[in-house]
Symmetry: C2
Subunit: 264 residues, 2 copies
């Protein structure tokens, strides 16, 4: 029988609020099983970038990562945010190690090619996960904490979506573990009415998801997260859950009243 592994992704909006992040990390430390944390970027990179004279540049809601911006996010995601999370987890007694995809080639990616004239710059699409490294760290009782950065084979650091990293790492490790992928953010799950936390949809399967996309009843921001979830399930991940960061303990204890469970 495979051992259980939780892969938890914590969103940028929680990272921006010091007290919420602290509460989340205290709860995360109490999860008794093997675990991996993947964190998003938060607004702090944009704020520091503005002070440094780096103007954010977007195409259809996606950030374009030029030379200055990849240095900025390497500093902020890989340094400031990652090490603050890691230091708190260790002070809580969780033996955590911060990683980017560059460390021991843990997540190898390639620069996204220019498509339809759009060059996203130093953005990476994942090719390979160093499964041996993650298995070895987990076997040593270490909790990897992943920043949303990958690396190509020539040593270029690349900006990669944290949801995608969480999904790909979960898929890759599902060969060795019973993997539970949990997306935590500032909402209680996928909501029928985006402003109403009581309108949680407790369960969505791929048929319902397609219907919701067609009818436009799903918030466009949720679509990539849902697509990542179905990809994960199709590739061996046992369970995908979307829920509020403050409910992380109940989500790992199979208490599913306050979350959205995804199935094929």
């Amino acid at each position: 029988m495979k051992g259980k592994l939780f892969i938890v992704k914590i969103g940028g909006n929680v990272i921006d609020k010091e007290d919420e992040l602290k509460g989340f990390l205290d709860d995360f430390s109490r999860i008794d099983e093997r675990k991996i944390l993947v964190h998003g970027g938060g607004k702090i990179a944009t704020e520091i970038g503005v002070k440094l004279g780096i103007t954010p540049n977007y195409h259809e809601g996606r950030r374009i990562t030029d030379d200055e911006t990849i240095d900025l996010v390497t500093m902020v995601y890989g340094g400031l945010i990652n090490k603050k999370i890691v230091s708190q987890l260790n002070s809580n007694g969780t033996l955590a190690v911060g990683l980017t995809g560059a460390d021991a080639s843990s997540i190898v990616a390639h620069k996204r090619p220019v498509t339809n004239g759009i060059d996203y710059g130093w953005v990476g699409d994942i090719d390979q996960i160093n499964t041996d490294l993650f298995c070895s760290l987990l076997a040593s009782g270490i909790t990897p904490v992943l920043a949303p950065l990958t690396c190509d084979i020539d040593g270029h650091i690349l900006n990669t979506n944290a949801d995608t990293i969480a999904s790909e790492v979960s898929q890759s490790l599902s060969k060795h573990y019973e993997t539970h992928l949990i997306y935590c953010f500032e909402k209680a799950g996928v909501l029928r009415v985006v402003e109403d936390d009581n309108s949680i949809i407790n369960h969505i399967d791929s048929y319902e998801f397609n219907e919701m996309c067609e009818s436009g009843t799903i918030h466009t921001g949720m679509i990539p997260k849902m697509a990542n979830s179905f990809t994960a399930l199709r590739n061996g991940v046992n369970e995908v859950i979307i829920g509020h960061s403050k409910n992380i303990m109940s989500l790992t204890e199979a208490n599913f009243d306050l979350c959205t469970r995804i199935s094929l």
Copy 2:
């Protein structure tokens, strides 16, 4: 018989020059034994700090690390510099993992107490090295790359001198390995005349060091590095060498014409 381990410290002045750093990392990758790299900070933290409106504050040549500055160096040392080094080493085929003292509590320190009215802020003096972690990484063929940051037991990240980290890690690992500590910088060794690279002193023992300190014939900037070297030798480190970063290969191959060897 203990296996051989090189602990190499690379100074800030080399880190500031992209070509020199690249050349050094290419050479470092070719060292065939177990190895650990410790890097300094470089001027880039100060440059980015100035852009962010953080004025450097020094007391007797030592930086005072206030709240803003510890965030700055966490970003720059732990993020930007560490990940650039790690990504290049991995692209060279060296399986490198970047660490701060916060990662898996690899280097636990305490905040330096206020002494004679001087508060250095978030500066850490080392209490303990997580020897098991380093041994386990080295046994897996991984090269740890250490940023000059440590962490206290309450999760505060602390700024710690890279020479001291290299010395303390070497001492701690000398129980398990035949440890060779190499300080690499932009000079060929300890020089009789600081501007003349041909005036290398090939060997210094503790008696000569004391004489040089008394007569004032040693550059004040070298004194802490030398003191760290003698502490290392007294605590089990097999060899300490000070030399030019471009000579790293010959220094690891016991070719000592172009360097300074330290002995008790």
